[in-house]
């Protein structure tokens, strides 16, 4: 079993990570993958993700361990960008391998909900030249509460 958690400060290609991850788990029943990208809204020029090194990666590693145990995963890949990004660039990738589809899909859902509003990242958007900090939407808090 491979649990891989990475913080990257440069662009990444999801396909180049998911292929080898899947191939590393022969015998799996299903693999579910979510990739979040910077949405191409008309006036969004850039997005920046700030993190806090002493806590962000350890927090992601704890989240990964929790997901592996909770959903009985065969493997988990969790990658998150930091720094400045432009529309169309991947921000986050979560891929989970399991024996049955339910574990794989639920694990991705669980990890994404936690990365969105319960991990040590701070996001801001640039629109019309002005940067503005983003907070999770009410939907994000509701999504997170499903797992308590």
């Amino acid at each position: 079993m491979a649990v891989t958690v990475r913080l990257l400060d440069t662009p990444f290609n999801p396909g180049a990570l998911v292929g080898p991850f899947t191939n590393a788990h022969p015998g799996l029943g299903g693999v579910c993958t979510f990739v979040g990208e910077v949405r191409g809204e008309a006036d969004v020029e850039a997005l920046e993700l700030m993190h806090y090194a002493p806590m962000t990666l350890p927090g992601m590693e704890a989240l990964a361990s929790e997901a592996v145990a909770r959903f009985g995963l065969m493997g988990l890949l969790m990658v998150h960008r930091t720094g400045k990004m432009h529309p169309g660039e991947p921000i986050v990738l979560v891929s989970a391998c399991a024996e049955h589809r339910r574990g794989a899909i639920d694990a991705v859902d669980f990890c994404m909900d936690h990365l969105k509003s319960d991990a040590w990242f701070w996001k801001r958007e640039q629109r019309g030249g002005t940067w503005r900090w983003i907070e999770p939407r009410a939907d994000d808090h509701r999504d997170l509460a499903r797992w308590k």
Binding site: M55, V92, F121
Partner: protein, 80 residues
């Protein structure tokens, strides 16, 4: 060596910097006293949390940092 105070997210904008060194020891009242009004207000807000050397405080008003410690001021997060 001093206490390094790290400002995350919008707190970095309010502070005008990502981090600042403050002479220790540093407790909650001492921290607030060194911050500008809007920054102190944001840090005191219930959604801002504090970590010392990477460990979250369950009660931030119990802050007790010495020279060499790193105090992180953590506003509401937003990732993914």
């Amino acid at each position: 060596m001093a206490v390094r105070v790290v400002f995350l997210g919008k707190l970095a904008d309010l502070a005008g910097t990502d981090e600042r060194d403050i002479a220790g020891p540093l407790d909650w009242d001492g921290l607030l006293a060194t911050l500008s009004d809007p920054l102190a207000e944001a840090v005191a807000g219930e959604r801002t949390r504090i970590a010392v050397n990477g460990t979250l405080l369950s009660d931030k008003t119990a802050l007790s940092a010495a020279d060499g410690d790193e105090v992180a001021l953590l506003p509401p997060v937003s990732g993914g």
